[in-house]
Symmetry: C2
Subunit: 332 residues, 2 copies
Amino acid sequence: MERSLDDVIKNNLSGNELKEFNRIYYGRTEHCELKIKNSTKDAGVKYNFDVLGFSFIASKEQLREPRILRLGLVQHSIVLSTDKPINQQRQAIFNKIERIIEAAASEEVKVLCLQETWSMPFFLCTRERKRWADFAESPDDGPSTKFLSKLAKRFEIIIISPILENEDGVWWNTAVVINEQGNYVGKHRKNHLPSVGSFNETTYYAPGNTNHPVFDTKYGKIAVNICYGRHHALNWLMFALNGAEIVFNPSATISEFGESFWGIEARNAAIANGYVTAPNGLRTPGLPKNRDGLLIVEVDLNQCRQVKDQWGFHMTSRLDLYADNLQKVVEN
Amino acid sequence: MERSLDDVIKNNLSGNELKEFNRIYYGRTEHCELKIKNSTKDAGVKYNFDVLGFSFIASKEQLREPRILRLGLVQHSIVLSTDKPINQQRQAIFNKIERIIEAAASEEVKVLCLQETWSMPFFLCTRERKRWADFAESPDDGPSTKFLSKLAKRFEIIIISPILENEDGVWWNTAVVINEQGNYVGKHRKNHLPSVGSFNETTYYAPGNTNHPVFDTKYGKIAVNICYGRHHALNWLMFALNGAEIVFNPSATISEFGESFWGIEARNAAIANGYVTAPNGLRTPGLPKNRDGLLIVEVDLNQCRQVKDQWGFHMTSRLDLYADNLQKVVEN
């Protein structure tokens, strides 16, 4: 199994040196691990997925109650080989994901995000289109949304479902938001499409036209920055300006595509824009890279404003200056 | 001596685990250390400063010659106690800096950046003003500029000199650019001023009014993002849109002010905006935290365009969308 940076550190550092590394790299000297139930651990062993959980603490406030919330992130491989019928391939993924969502629900996760185009092989690296076309689906009543709606309702959790969308023959890379009643709430289409070497997503779909929606849900104000959009500071910024408290970044990528950036970009965006996780610069260890897994993070959404009040990045942002500057750039 | 993350790693990891850590954290499995001359090492021992040097390599191109260049970054403490006469305090810093610049020049550094308000104690945390006022100086013919102009001319190097500016009774936090002929080229005034807890720089000076200048010098197109401006993605972006190939971020800060961000923000900006160091996500180890030091980085400025061509972040930036979005935000 490939080692992660987290593993390398855990296996080699100890005592004050480990604390000092943690202080600088993760932003605190000790990880606050969540206690995972034995039944969840058993499910992980039985169905072969990892479960990790960590918490971030905010300060107590005089006027607001804490807004403590558990978020879940899921990573998984496909199940069947890609020459099998599409409905069988998809159903096998559904079966796998159902078990992970059950585990998340039993750990009190309230908002769960699946990976980019989670219900299909990530065929967008193949340059082929026709043989995969039936994986594209409707965001509001396609098979992935129908499947997840039942689970969302049963467990009263919000699910972010990144799929390949087909709307009247136009494909999009789309994140669907399903609320805790199992209802389709809305969608966001990936704003920035990679064209890196021979890997070109514009072969498949158009740059998103949904701008930067923020979904005001029972559990918080949620946005989704899909994959390559994480490289674009203005993309992160607009979700913040539209009020996001939580921004997910579902991705499908490989080590050669910027692994050394992974620990930097989303965390930098959270710091710059004051949303979880983690506006105060903290990060958790990650899941092992080559296995299915569920990462749980307990946050207090009060932290978003607390960090803005502490650092003042929003107060000092001078957006009027930049609005003018950008206008001049695009007019030239 | 306080340990750095770099030290902790160097002292505890080895073999494949060290390589894997380096690959993910620094962006490459091995640091490419520059060979430092014995005379430079001797100077470092004699005058008590560290010297570290690393190189980044770009690809060979068919149509452009390499643009290999050595950059220098200097950190230093003050010399005399702050109750001594101001001219003595400043002269003692000048004497110290002269030796470090001599060392940089002997290592073929062509562009050198000093730390924020390098020629005075960083008194901006004291909330006092009057007793320090004589440290504020003219950017084009003040003592710091006069002193550095001679060295810049003698060694044919460009020097970035961040000072406290006083212009007709208005104070600014200003970076002066002095070219390799010893001439004053221009200045940039800090755009974003921190107001964090009781630490409030607006007590002293105004937010910069120089927008985002890029200085087109003999050795490259240079910009300066001063200290707290590193938290602002749009600040970094505008220097890029104005053509910067190198952006320095001279800072004076303490561990409590976001040490866990230090390794993230400037590096994220270099990735997002395609300028050194390091547009491809690499970073070097840093200097020890509590000693004077000179960090030398050898770069090939061709890498800026190479990385833009590889990753396409500029091509996919959709600036027209964001210019509109920001305009709407500031109009509301």
